[in-house]
């Protein structure tokens, strides 16, 4: 579903690589967590995957489509939820979703069906015809999630998705992530929340100072329990070393 090979990313005027020789492969139907401290390179990797950032070396393929060579096809298979919940605030929620649905070539029937379902799920019905600028932080996050899902992407990428969400919405998202994966799709999200990753993910990768340190299979008995320990030992070792 997602294949990252030897990814290198360096920011302009920076001495070191923000992401260095990172390789990952995400399978169909799995929820994959991406762990790391602040500035470890999680968001940078996700932004390279979604095509926001250009990268210095390596390759990224989404459903077999290269993000650089066949970017339109690759992006059609992806839905992205950013960490800053930025949306076109002059539009109403419905207008924004309709705009995204047009760009992703979603049929009128499908968009209405998905929209109605998600709006109900996130309890946004009262606000969908109001300009997004009046939305709260959590409501903006919800409308971003609906926009990312309106075309039922094969790969759903989320950057810190639970920030600013109420507990009920968190439960709904977790439940929907599972449902989305059951249909053969993949979820790839970054988080600081070790408990959430342990509870939800099939596998998790730990990135530290731009390098991938470990990929943990959380379906193996005992790995969920030791995730926190593994994470802390990797990040602590580096600091001490």
């Amino acid at each position: 579903m997602l294949e990252i090979k030897n990814l290198y990313k360096k920011y302009l005027n920076s001495e070191r690589f923000a992401v260095e020789n990172l390789s990952l492969e995400l399978k169909e139907g799995e929820i994959f967590g991406f762990l790391g401290k602040n500035g470890a390179g999680k968001s940078t990797t996700l932004k390279c995957v979604t095509g926001i950032y250009p990268f210095n070396g390596g390759s990224i393929k989404v459903c077999g489509k290269d993000i650089r060579e066949e970017s339109i096809d690759a992006k059609l298979n992806m839905g992205y939820v950013p960490d800053n919940h930025s949306v076109y605030e002059k539009l109403t929620g419905r207008e924004y979703i309709n705009y995204i649905a047009d760009l992703y070539r979603v049929s009128k029937f499908d968009r209405m069906e998905h929209f109605t379902r998600f709006v109900r799920m996130f309890r946004l019905s009262h606000a969908v015809d109001t300009q997004i600028k009046s939305y709260s932080h959590g409501m903006k996050q919800k409308i971003c999630i609906i926009a990312a899902l309106i075309h039922q992407p094969r790969l759903w990428v989320l950057d810190e998705p639970m920030m600013g969400l109420d507990p009920q919405s968190m439960v709904e998202i977790i439940s929907y992530m599972r449902e989305h994966c059951k249909q053969g799709n993949t979820v790839f999200f970054s988080s600081h929340n070790l408990d959430l990753v342990a509870k939800l993910c099939d596998r998790a990768a730990i990135i530290h100072e731009g390098k991938l340190h470990d990929i943990i299979d959380l379906t193996v008995k005992g790995n969920k329990e030791t995730l926190e320990e593994d994470f802390l030992s990797i990040t602590r070792e580096e600091e001490e070393g």
Partner: protein, 547 residues
Amino acid sequence: MKSTYTLLKLEFRNNFGVFSLKDKKMVKKTIGTAIFVIVFYLFLLWASEVLFEMFAKEGLAYEILVFLFTAMFLFFVLSGISSTSKVLYYKGDNEMLMRLPVKGYEVFISKTLYLIINQILLTGVVLVPVMFAYSNVVEVPKQFLKLIPAATAFIVFIPFFISNLLAIPAMVLTNKIRHRFGLVIVIMVIGVTVMFTVYMMLFESMVTYLKGQSFSVFDPEVVQVFKQVASYCYPTKYFADLVLQRSPVVALFLLMLISLFLLFLNILLVVFVYQKTLLKNIEIEGSAYRKKRGRFVHRSIFSTLLRKEFLQVLRSVNYSFQYFVLAFSMPVMVYFCNEIAIKIGRNDIGDKIILGLTLLVMLIFNTVIISFSATSITREGDNFYHTKVIPVSIRKQLAAKFTMYLFISILANAATTALIIYRKQIGLLEGVWLFGIIQFIGISLTLRSMKMDVKRPKFNLSGQGELVSGNVNTTASVGLGFAVSVIIGILAMLISYLLDSFFAINTEVLSVDQWMLVIISGISLIFGIYCILSYQINLKKHYNRIT
């Protein structure tokens, strides 16, 4: 009292920053402001003298002073409503201040003092040179200059009290029409057009007067109308009466009475309404637009991009003004400027340069609206990531933006050309040809401006994610536009002049003007090809670099 003083200091620091000799940027800014004030002061002194001389010659010395006070009075009331809403009622600021250990009335007093001090400074800068100019031109009583502080005090306080009273109804009214986007644009276009028309008519009279072309600038009927209107200008005629010592006691008494009455109403407002208004959040109430019947419409990718771009501009008062209002006011602006330019040009050089002059004027006004395209990427702000994430090529995204610019410029230029042809400033054939040239140069400059922004966007948006302050790309676009306008405009005039005066060209096939248009079309074509190529080359590469 101490809290009020601290809050007042905070308000000034918040708005003007803290002056420090160590801060070179601040020192430069202060010197720049001082130079600007001095230049403005001298200009105002000169322009006022010309204006007063012109009116005094017609026996309208008293009337012009009344009009001047009236204009200042109206300006202070209108600007006062805007600043009162922002300073006294703006939610964010008040919420922050209310968290501090200060009383509500201390916040109110400090903010009110800030507004008044600001107003006094502004009035001082404007009123003092104007009054000096008046005393230089018109014979005034001995007390005239001594009475300026009294006039200043009244012209600060009365409009301030009135704007305080009007601020709440104005906010309620604004909320009612805020989302009638078309109506807001129409109101703004009318406002800008009327102000520009009045300004240009006055300017035209001053030009006529300065050139000494006619003994009398105004018709006798107009003089009578001025006299009659001035006699009805309440309460501003009392300001003139006071400084000119025409029934000064009555004027002083009435102005004091009005001030006291307004003060009383303001006290009632503070006691009974101010806090309630803050609590009700009127300033931002209903600030979000709500669609009555939202529905899904399936659109093509291009039309959905175009629609989004249009709505982003239409639903922002700031962008609507910068773009739609200026574009739709363009016909009137060009017409008046061209009228004056033609008058001056015809008298000084001759008819042969008229078409070139019109081209110059139209190109300059076009530049102003084209500069909006220099923020095509910048305006995306935090939403820039959308342009990279969506499955649509950047060329198509920019093409949608370009289509909006093209559509608006065609509308504005067509209306402008139609008006100047109708008013017989130029002929039909030349007009249509001119429209084509201007449109083509406009397209070229638009592409150049868009490319500039793709190369170096500045995502430093503020407020509600909008570009409100100056932008390097806008400045560069205006600079380039002016340079191109001046070069092509002067070249056009020069070509017409030279063809007519020194070259024996065949005017059987084409007239001198048409020959000039052919040559200018060729130059525009070369410039256009350069702009189109420079837009296309490495567009994707530059765009991909933006992060």
